[in-house]
C-alpha cells in the first residue's frame, strides 16, 4: 500500500458540519430506543418476562429463527456458489429475485407465500392432493418458511461476496497437489469461507428473529406454534398491555444488539485481502 503520508494521519479536527450531521443521524436512530427504555418498567420486568405466554413466545422465536437460519444456510450456500461461480443467461435476474425479499414489505411476502403454499395455492394444492400434506398455514413449519423467505437473501449475498473474494486459483493449486474435490472443499474452500458463512448465518438469524409481517400473514398468530416474540409484542400492544409489550421489546432489542455487536468486525469491516497476492514483492 502506497498511501501518501498525509492520508495516513487524518486531520485531527474533523469538519464540524460532518460531526453535527452524524450526531443528528445517531439521534434519529437511537431516540426511539431511548423512549422505549425510559418507559420500561424495570422493577416488574422480571415478572412480566417470566410469564408463561412470554416464555412460550420466546421459545417459538428461538426455534423458528434457528430453523429458518439453518434452512437459509442449507439452501443458500449452493445458491451463492451458483451465483458466484457459474455464468449463465439470466443470472442478473436470478440475483434480483433472490434479493427481492430484502426490499419487499414482508406482508407482501406473506400474501405471496399464501397463494403459493396455501391449501388453494399453486404448490399447496399439489402438496395436498399428492402427498396428503395439509396446509402449512398455522404451523411452526409455516412460520419457519415465512422467516426463511425474508432472511435467506442476507445469507446468500454475504456468502456470495465471500466466494467472490476467494481466489479460485487456491482451489486449483490444492488439486495440483493431489487434493480431490471433497478435500478441496473441506480443507480449502470452507475454512477460507468460514468468516463469511458465519457472518451470513448470524445475519439471517437476526433477520428471522425480528420477522413479523410475512409470518403473521402467512402462518398466522397461533400461541405455541407461530406466535413469535414480535407477534406477541404486537398482540400485547393492541390488547392494551403496553408494559408487557415494552418488556418483550427490551428482551428482543437486547438479543439483537448482542448479535450485532458479535458481528461487527465481520459485517462492517471488509475481510483483508489475500496476503500472497503479490508474489514478486521483495526477495528473502
Amino acid at each position: 500500500m502506497t498511501d501518501r503520508p498525509a492520508s495516513k494521519e487524518p486531520n485531527r479536527r474533523p469538519p464540524i458540519a460532518i460531526l453535527m450531521m452524524a450526531v443528528i443521524a445517531v439521534t434519529v436512530l437511537a431516540l426511539p430506543l431511548v423512549g422505549l427504555l425510559q418507559r420500561t418498567p424495570w422493577s416488574s420486568l422480571g415478572t412480566t418476562l417470566g410469564e408463561a405466554a412470554t416464555l412460550e413466545a420466546l421459545r417459538v422465536s428461538v426455534v423458528v429463527s434457528l430453523l429458518a437460519a439453518a434452512l437459509s444456510v442449507a439452501l443458500g450456500l449452493p445458491l451463492a456458489w451458483v451465483l458466484a461461480r457459474l455464468s449463465f443467461r439470466g443470472r442478473a435476474l436470478v440475483r434480483a429475485v433472490v434479493l427481492l425479499p430484502m426490499v419487499l414489505p414482508p406482508v407482501v411476502g406473506g400474501i405471496a407465500l399464501f397463494f403459493a403454499l396455501g391449501r388453494r395455492g399453486l404448490v399447496g394444492r399439489a402438496l395436498h392432493n399428492w402427498f396428503g400434506l395439509d396446509t402449512l398455514i398455522g404451523t411452526t413449519a409455516g412460520a419457519v418458511i415465512a422467516a426463511a423467505f425474508v432472511s435467506m437473501p442476507f445469507f446468500v449475498i454475504t456468502a456470495e461476496a465471500g466466494l467472490r473474494q476467494l481466489d479460485p486459483r487456491l482451489e486449483s493449486a490444492a488439486s495440483t497437489l493431489g487434493a480431490g474435490r471433497w478435500t478441496v472443499l473441506r480443507r480449502i474452500t470452507l475454512p477460507l469461507l468460514a468468516p463469511s458463512l458465519a457472518a451470513g448465518a448470524t445475519l439471517s438469524w437476526a433477520r428471522a428473529l425480528g420477522e413479523f409481517g410475512a409470518t403473521i400473514t402467512f402462518a398466522g398468530n397461533h400461541p405455541g406454534r407461530t406466535r413469535t416474540l414480535p407477534l406477541a409484542i404486537a398482540q400485547a400492544n393492541e390488547a392494551g398491555q403496553p408494559e408487557a409489550a415494552i418488556a418483550m421489546s427490551v428482551l428482543l432489542i437486547g438479543v439483537s444488539l448482542l448479535i450485532l455487536i458479535g458481528l461487527r468486525h465481520r459485517w462492517i469491516a471488509p475481510r483483508t485481502s489475500q496476503p500472497d497476492d503479490s508474489p514478486k514483492s521483495s526477495p528473502s
Partner: protein, 346 residues
Amino acid sequence: MSIQAEIQAATGGFAIQAEFDAPQGSCTAIVGPNGAGKTTLIHALAGLIPLQKGRIVLAGQLVDDATQGVHVPSNRRPIALHSQHNLLFPHLSVVDNVAFGPQCSGLSTRLARQRAEEWLHKVGLADMAELRPAQLSGGQAQRVGLARAAACQPDVLLLDESLASLDAETRTDVRHLLADIPATRVLITHDPVEARVLADQLLVMERGEIVQTGTPEEVTADPRTPWTAGLLDINLLTGQAIGTHVALDCGLALTTATPMTGPVLVTFSPAAVTLSTAEPHTSARNTWQAEVARIQPESDRVRVLLGAPAPCHVWVTPQAANELGLSAGTRCWAALKATELTVREA
C-alpha cells in the same frame, strides 16, 4: 519416456500447440518471451485446462486424450505444480502448507508434517514452520511453494518461474536442490544461465508454439529465432575459482575482477571478446589462441563460434571478419577483459 505430450489447447482466446517428450528424471526448461504460452503449456500438463486435440502421457499414465475424451483431473495425475503466484493457503501455517500434498497422498498427519519439516529444512526455512504465509517475504513464500510441490514427491514436477524472486545466493541453493530432485522436471524460466545449467532439454516457445527444441548446447550453438539468440547471447563457462584466478573446466585459466573461491559460473557477452590474427599486446587480462569452429552472418554482424579451449560466441562486424579473413578452421587470438566477466557461485 516420462512425458509424452502432443498438446493443442486454448485459454481465453489464446491457443497453444506443442509437442515434446522428456525422459524419466530429466529436466526440461521452457523459455520464451512473455505471452508465449509457457504457463498455458504447464497448465495443460497439470490438467488445469482441457486439450482440444492431442494426448498426454505422464509416467506411463494416459492423462489426456482428446479423441477418446480422456481428461484425468489434476489430483489424479502423477504431478505437483508450483505456480508462479505461489498460492500458499493463507489459513494454514507454513508447515501445514507443505504437509498438504503428502497428506492428500494418504500420509498420516504426523508423517506428513515430518516430511514437510524435512523439505522446509532443505529450502532453509525450518525456523519459519509455524508462521502464516502472510508473514513471509516474497522470496521465502516462493521457497515454501517450491517445498510444498516437491514434498508431494511427484513423478513429474512442474515449476512455473520458481526461482524468479530469489536473491542470488538463495537462487544458487535452490538451483542445487532442483538439480538433485529425482522427479522429471519441467520448469519455466527467464534466466538463461539457469536454463543452461539445469536443463537437459530446452523448449523455446514463441506465440503459442515450440519454435525450437534441443539440448542447451544445441540451441545455443544454433538459435533459430532472434529472441532465442538474444536470450542465449551470453557465454557461460564453468570452473574453480581461487581468488581472481579461475581454472575453467575446459582447461583454460581466466583472470577475473571478482575474487571468489570454489566452483563458479563465468559469463560474458559475445561483444566482450576481441579477435586478432596475431598475438595481441593489450590491457585485456585474458588472451588465448583458438580455432574458429563456425562463422554465421547475421543481419548487421557476424557470429563467430570459437572451439577449444574455451567454446564461446563472439560478435564481430562483417568488415572485421573480412579483414581478419575469418572462416571455419582459421586460428586466431581472443582477448577478454577481466572486468567484462561476471562470476557467480555455481
